[in-house]
């Protein structure tokens, strides 16, 4: 270690101002400060400082995302082989969740790892460009965004789209505002929203949630056998949305137009066991399906104090309360779906734990965080149930609350100001 330290820091002068490789300083700084906490000492103010820094904080978030990543890899593999099991006799047993474990992991890795690599590659490249322009090394914020972006995508999204979305999000979402700590919108959600609106066919519908659907469909058409629609499958949210329309569908099976609300809900319950949904054994974006994995990550973030319990708790509470509110209105089958379902399907838990808690874009006051979370969770359900265009409301709800967070804070600050003023008034009275 000492030798490494020596080798690296003997290079210091060459990268400093006036040195031979001065221009490469941001790159050098990034690498050397990753390996060694620099020897900067306190110059002003407190002579001692807390051990914590942004690197350790952000590393913990990346660590907390690992359960979602691992589960997402397996889940991607599973739904690919599940689809195959319907049409290819060779894989007929693979519909069972744990059958063919190795092959599913391998397939998942092949699909998901490139997403991760492209997201990090594109994002870090942009970050470095801005680092070179501003003369500083990599700021840690993107390490988290880079992992979040692939986890919010369907596994089959083309890699170039991931790259474009990432570049867009980092440049327009963050760097134009001044970089880490200055952005208004969550970077990862900006990337997702960009793709969602620019390339909707790759981000929604009922052909994208089981990896390899297009390919399998093509192959089996060639054999003169069309892949039945029933197998391709929408997400649970897509099904729920169909309840509001003319042709209610559950897991690819059309329900008769005359099905009553309770019949629809019952068939939905049969297709999506809440326990399965909680564990994450349903199709969806790579990292969003498993509530269990998200909560595991959430536990890490809460245990280490990195994420705000106020936001996570109030986000879930908001979702549940607005779910109940929908139940109370009960105008259609979607509204009547038990409120707890909302919390275990789609990206609700993932959004609550990893997206809403982004401290830069969330409310910054302690009370503000409660309102921000509650309204975010509630809005997500409102968008899901009431807006026929968007099956998943979590992304839009959080982005909207990102924009509203300063307003929420404004009211909390005004409250503080008037309380402080009152203190003096009562005293002199």
């Amino acid at each position: 270690m000492k030798a490494l330290k020596k080798v690296i820091h003997n290079l210091d002068p060459k990268f400093e101002k006036g040195g031979k490789w001065e221009k490469m300083y941001p790159l050098y700084e990034t690498l050397s400060t990753f390996l060694f906490t620099p020897k900067h000492v306190t110059e002003k103010g407190a002579h001692i400082r807390d051990g914590v820094d942004l690197k350790r904080t952000m590393f913990m978030v990346v660590l907390a995302l690992i359960p979602c990543l691992l589960f997402g890899i397996y889940n991607t593999g599973h739904w690919h082989y599940e689809l195959l099991s319907h049409v290819d006799p060779e894989y007929s047993g693979y519909g069972s969740y744990l059958a063919g474990f190795g092959e599913k992991v391998a397939y998942g890795l092949i699909q998901v790892l490139p997403l991760v690599i492209v997201s990090y590659g594109a994002g870090l490249a942009v970050e470095f460009v801005f680092g070179f322009i501003k003369g500083h090394g990599l700021h840690e914020g993107f390490l988290v965004s880079g992992m979040l972006i692939p986890l919010t995508m369907p596994a089959d999204v083309p890699l170039w789209m991931v790259a474009v979305a990432t570049v867009f999000a980092v440049v327009i979402g963050k760097e134009v505002f001044g970089g880490t700590g200055m952005n208004i919108l969550n970077v990862a959600l900006t990337a997702r929203a960009f793709l969602f609106f620019a390339y909707p066919t790759k981000m929604s519908g009922d052909k994208v949630w089981k990896s390899g659907t297009d390919e399998i469909a093509a192959n089996f058409t060639a054999n003169g056998d069309k892949l039945p629609d029933a197998y391709t499958g929408a997400t649970a949210l897509g099904d729920l949305q169909s309840f509001v329309g003319d042709s209610p569908t559950v897991a690819g099976k059309s329900l008769s137009g005359a099905a009553s609300n309770s019949e629809m809900i019952e068939s939905f319950g049969n297709a999506y066991d809440p326990i399965h949904a909680f564990i994450g054994m349903i199709p969806g974006s790579v990292g969003e399906t498993s509530v269990l994995a998200a909560l595991l990550g959430g536990a890490i973030l809460l245990f280490t104090g990195v994420a705000s319990w106020r936001i996570i708790l109030s986000f879930f509470a908001g979702g549940f309360v607005f779910g109940l509110l929908m139940n109370a209105v009960g105008a259609n089958a979607y509204m009547e779906i038990p409120a707890y379902y909302h919390l275990v399907i789609g990206g609700f838990a993932f959004g609550a734990v990893f997206m809403a808690t982004d401290p830069v874009t969330a409310s910054q006051t302690q009370y503000g965080k409660l309102w921000y979370g509650f309204l975010g969770g509630g809005l997500a359900i409102l968008i899901r149930v009431l807006n026929p265009a968007y099956p998943e409301g979590v992304m839009l709800a959080i982005l909207f609350m990102n924009v509203m967070a300063p307003l929420v804070d404004h009211y909390v600050v005004q409250l503080n100001i008037s309380r402080r003023k009152k203190r003096f008034k009562t005293k002199t009275a």
């Binding site: 620099p38 000492v41 942004l54 350790r56 804070d409 402080r420």
Partner: protein
Amino acid sequence: MSINMSKAVRLRKGLDIKLVGEADKVKADLEMPSVVALKPADFHGLVPKLILKEGQKIKRGEVVFYDKYNKDIKWVSPVAGSLQEIVRGAKRKILEVRIKVDGLEDVVSIDPVDPSNASRDEVKKIMLDNGLWPFIKQRPLDIIADPAVTPKAIFVSAFDSAPLAPDYDFILHGQDQDFQHGLNALAKLTDGKVHLTLNSKVPADKAFQNAKNVNINKIAGKHPAGNVGTQIHHIDPVDKGEYVFTVNPQDVVTIGKFFAEGKFDPTRIVAYTGSEAENRKYFRTVIGANISSIVEKNLSSENVRVISGNALTGTKIEKDGYLGFYDAQITVLPEGDEYKFFLTKGWLGPGLDKYSSHRLFPTWLLGKKKYRLDTNLNGEERGFVVTGEMEKVLPFDILPMQLIKAIMTKDIDAMEQLGIYEIAPEDFALCEYVCTSKIDIQEKVREGLDVIKEECM
């Protein structure tokens, strides 16, 4: 509740940073240092006008310089001797006025005055003329008190809660009379109360417990419970246009002694603390003393930082530097100017050697363990990212992040509304300590106060 009643305050927020290196409860007399110095930088915003020239003889208690912008405020020599050197920095700014010590005998003296029987103007004049006024600071702004204003209250904190802080119960033990005299003098300066605030966790020395002519309050909690700023905020907060004066307990004794004896008593009992300090105890020396006789022989390692004051708010000085005017503590810490491999002692290490308020480190599992912290920044400066961390260590009804941002954007209205009149940099020292983004918060607070002084006072 009326403000004239004693108050018992309980704080939920704050942070006690547990460091190795408390001073033993032993007092040792130190030989008279050969040089003492007055450092204008100890008094924020002071531009001194020197009365004496280099080489001139000076008595103990004789005026050395006065405040250019407030000629009534004067500084006196703590010792008899001669003006050895005026050390200047950039733009000829005076950094140190060094006085070569001959002894204490040659002294300026007046007839003793019982402050209880004197008028406010008399007390004020005596204090101004004899170099006692600089001991009094004011809120707002945390600068030397303006003699032209009458404060609504005066606050003395009977304890210091900062890391390794000196124990004022120990320092003041046996000085009951002088302390009382000092309080009587202070009481003349205000129409309101003199508040003496004790630590409710430990029984206070008799000098505090039996103090008369004061309002005794109690406060319980972690640092900054001992800061006057915290106590003012909870007992009698400062609104715009109001003034509160504050004085350190040992300085109250110095003021009291002057009224009792008619002579400036420069005695200062100083706690020698810190993990790199050896032979740690309380040394009896004088204001502005050269500290080389304490520090140079009593170090356990070479590469150290010597601080006049505590680890959070003190001033960095050399090993042969001078004790700060308000300081009753010297802290010696290991200098942290070394690279730390990320997996062992660096950012991703187990962190058993780091004291953190964040649960990202095992500090919170290690209970009463004491730490040998060095001066490494433990990271690099970043924009604000993490929220809620400062709120946990600031026991004020003040939103720290919003106030700091108001200061950064020089938004005077917001600064006023968010509480700038109540705070001093030292109150935000813990916010600076816990800041993940390594922003120099105390400096920001001072910048804000300077703007307020310029624009609003």
